[in-house]
């Protein structure tokens, strides 16, 4: 299962402790996390499922390429960091 860590700035607004979840893509992993925390979903992606403009997701240190479908592959031992961009405050 991939490790998923949310920016501490997000933790100020909603519970999102470090967790791990199964999945072969960023979308699958995040959906697995959001399944038990539906409000959290809206902080990271919009209602169409696209990554919010001022959010970034890193998989094993690399910024995801597909910000709309979140189709970037994830390994079982991957580390996913959900961060906010420097813009957008």
């Amino acid at each position: 299962m991939a490790k998923v860590v949310f920016t501490k700035n997000l933790r100020e607004h909603i519970a999102c402790p470090e967790t791990s979840a199964p999945g072969a893509t960023v979308r699958e992993v995040l959906d697995a996390v959001f399944a038990s925390n539906d409000l959290l979903r809206g902080y990271v992606v919009d209602e169409r499922g696209a990554l919010r403009q001022h959010m970034n997701v890193f998989v094993d240190g690399a910024n995801v390429r597909d910000r709309v479908k979140l189709s970037d592959p994830v390994e079982t031992d991957s580390e996913i960091y959900v961060m906010q961009a420097l813009s957008g405050g």
Binding site: N9, L10, H13, I14, D38, L39, G42, Y43, V44, D46, E47, R48, A50, R52, H54, M55, Q84, A85, G88, G89
Partner: protein
């Protein structure tokens, strides 16, 4: 009279309270987070706040204990729309630009206006939202475009006090719209309005009028007031036709307007110089008031800064209480003023708030 005011700002939600020594900032909620709209629902005494996190999107919160605790609930979400709707980008919620309670006989009902132009209705205090497809699907809606925002938005919603199914709303830029069946069908009602920023053959097109703010008089809902991009307007027939209020001094330009709750002939506006120069005329902050249905206006300035002031008052930033005696407004530069006598004189509550986005009396 109301003793509490909710203030949404770029850096949080403030509550102002009137104590024995006058008005004071009593509390700040969501410190540091932009709040586009705050709302008070008198039916179940609930405070609402629509937050616009810069990174995390729009979030909705409500409080049933005077702001001591807040509960997040789901924000309205645009449904998947046909692909031709997506030519200008997939419609997703950008901003909550209005949130008002429904009628007294429908507790829990809320109307929510948004950018990019979607109207939402909830019948359960926001637990679930319905996208009002009838308005979105109106062919004239496709003519709407963004004014102050990049995309169009619904910013003013008024519910008829005696008929909850009768709702009037205004769009920037998209005219005024009325439903009399609770949102099943809509009629555009902007006849008489004129948009000087458009080519001559489009200037009177109702579907592109840039209404900045529209207010319905609770005492006589046939009376509505509008501050448009170019001028100010009055309707005496439920928005069917509008008459321009010409040559109001010091200016016909501005954003905010409120209607007196019990006197259909009285309304207040806050002018600025002109659209291309959005500053107070001559650096003086003033409020204009009519008490004769828009025939004449007084300029109210006692207690307001009269030199080197650059305060602009956004469309949701002027409010009146249920008596018509107390008014409050806040500015882009963080000043906040209250009048206890219908605007004749004003007292300063703060000059150091964040930019003010929304002012609502708890009444």
């Amino acid at each position: 009279m109301s003793e509490t005011i909710l203030v949404g700002t770029r850096k949080g939600v403030f509550t102002l309270k009137r104590g024995t020594s006058g008005w004071k900032i009593a509390d700040v909620h969501f410190r540091g987070v932009p709040a586009s709209i705050v709302t008070w629902d008198p039916r179940d005494r609930t405070m609402y706040a629509a937050l616009g996190h810069g990174h995390f999107g729009v979030k909705m919160h409500r409080s049933s204990d005077d702001g001591k605790t807040w509960t997040e609930f789901k924000a309205p979400a645009y449904p998947e729309l046909p692909s031709e709707e997506q030519a200008k980008g997939v419609p997703v919620l950008h901003l909550v630009w209005e949130l008002v309670p429904g009628g007294a006989d429908e507790p829990g009902t809320l109307w929510c206006g948004t950018v990019p132009g979607g109207l939402f209705k909830s019948t359960n205090r926001g637990d679930t939202w319905t996208f009002v497809r009838s308005l979105w699907d109106d062919p004239l809606r496709k003519q709407w475009f963004g004014g102050g925002m990049e995309r169009p938005g619904i910013h003013s919603i008024s519910v008829h006090p005696k008929n909850s199914k009768h709702v009037a709303l205004a769009v920037s830029c998209g005219g005024a719209w009325v439903t009399k069946d609770g949102g099943e069908t809509w009629t555009i009602q902007a006849k008489g309005m004129r948009a000087g920023f458009m080519p001559p053959d489009q200037a009177e097109n109702p579907a592109i009028q840039d209404i900045h703010r529209m207010a319905m008089c609770p005492a006589n809902p046939e009376v509505l007031w509008a501050q448009n991009h170019d001028s100010m307007y009055h309707s005496g027939d439920g928005a069917k036709t509008w008459q321009e209020l010409k040559d109001v001094k010091p200016s016909n330009f501005g954003f905010a307007v409120v209607a007196h709750p019990t006197d259909e002939k009285t309304a207040w506006f806050v002018p600025a110089e002109v659209d291309a120069k959005r500053v107070p005329v001559d650096g003086k902050v003033v409020v204009t008031r009519t008490r004769d249905g828009g025939q004449t206006f007084e300029t109210l300035r006692e207690g307001l800064p009269q030199e080197h002031a650059y305060d602009i008052v956004f469309r949701h930033c002027l409010d009146v209480d249920e008596t018509g005696a107390r008014l409050a407004f806040g500015s882009t530069t963080g000043s906040f003023w209250i009048s206890e006598n219908g605007g004749d004189a004003w007292q300063t509550v703060s000059n150091h708030l964040p930019p003010v986005y929304c002012v609502r009396f708890v009444k």
